[in-house]
């Protein structure tokens, strides 16, 4: 049974995480980077729920944690998008390579 083993969920989550990291490193558009971050957060949520189902005796802790993850993701996107819009207003571009005043 593929859908009843912990390994398959962890593998899906690992694939989603790697895709997110790939997007984070290879894209230059800030909105695309936020999208990749969402994928990474979702892979963490899948991991939490998989361990919650297969490895925990108390079946609630993982779900509560995922609720926190979703709330924090909403806050992060809210701040991130307003920063992107501010950058767009100042630079007229949302390419990450344009934002280099700090010479980081």
């Amino acid at each position: 049974m593929v859908s009843q083993s912990l390994q398959s969920y962890l593998l899906v989550s690992a694939a989603l995480f790697s895709l997110g990291v790939f997007g984070l490193l290879s894209r230059r558009n800030l909105v695309a980077i936020v999208i990749s971050l969402e994928l990474i957060l979702n892979s963490a949520s899948i991991n939490f729920l998989a361990f919650n189902k297969f490895c925990m005796h108390d079946k609630v802790t993982g779900q509560v944690f995922v609720i926190f993850i979703i709330a924090l993701a909403a806050a992060e996107v809210c701040i991130g998008l307003s920063l992107i819009l501010l950058l767009y207003k100042r630079k007229n571009s949302i390419n990450i390579e344009e934002a280099k005043e700090l010479k980081g």
Partner: protein, 205 residues
Amino acid sequence: MIADIVFIGIVITTLVGAFMAVWLKNVFYNALSLILSLFGVACLFIYLNSEFLAIMEVIIYIGAIAVAIIFAIMLSKPSLLTEGKRSAAKTLRSLIIAGLLFFGLWLTLRRTTWPEAGVEGDYSIRAIGRALLTTNILPFEAVSLVLLVAIIGALLISSFNRYSEPEAKNLKNGIPASPADRLRSAHDDDAKQNDDTYSEGELGG
């Protein structure tokens, strides 16, 4: 058996959506593929017996976050959103790093034996609510505070635009202008404004 077939279909949908969300060049397609991928993740949550979180995933991620991302895309000009040619070296480097990461995670998954517990238990919304308001009350309140601060912060950041626009004019290719340039451009702005008011006055008269 049929559950497995559906599961594999959902996994393929999720991963293809995620791949399209990071690979396609048009950012609008990225956002739409993200919605597809998030829907697949919500279906996986149902397989993990968390129906409440599946609904929350659809409502919050698709209904709020993805729509906010689409808003941000709409508010910036579409012509500036298409990226130029992909640099092969950068893509290759990212691919190698992501591939190594996936390989490492896969090896870890293969070699670890996880502690097993039965899948039976109380997954209900009632139990979640009780846990949220008894054992996890402090993080719950902290998260509500974080959300409040985030909303206020976002409003503050986006309402500062009005004051930061003159600043943006002094930036030439991202480099702050010299003080002399800044003075000159401020003077030009003043002169232009005076012209504008003058011509408006004339038209009004």
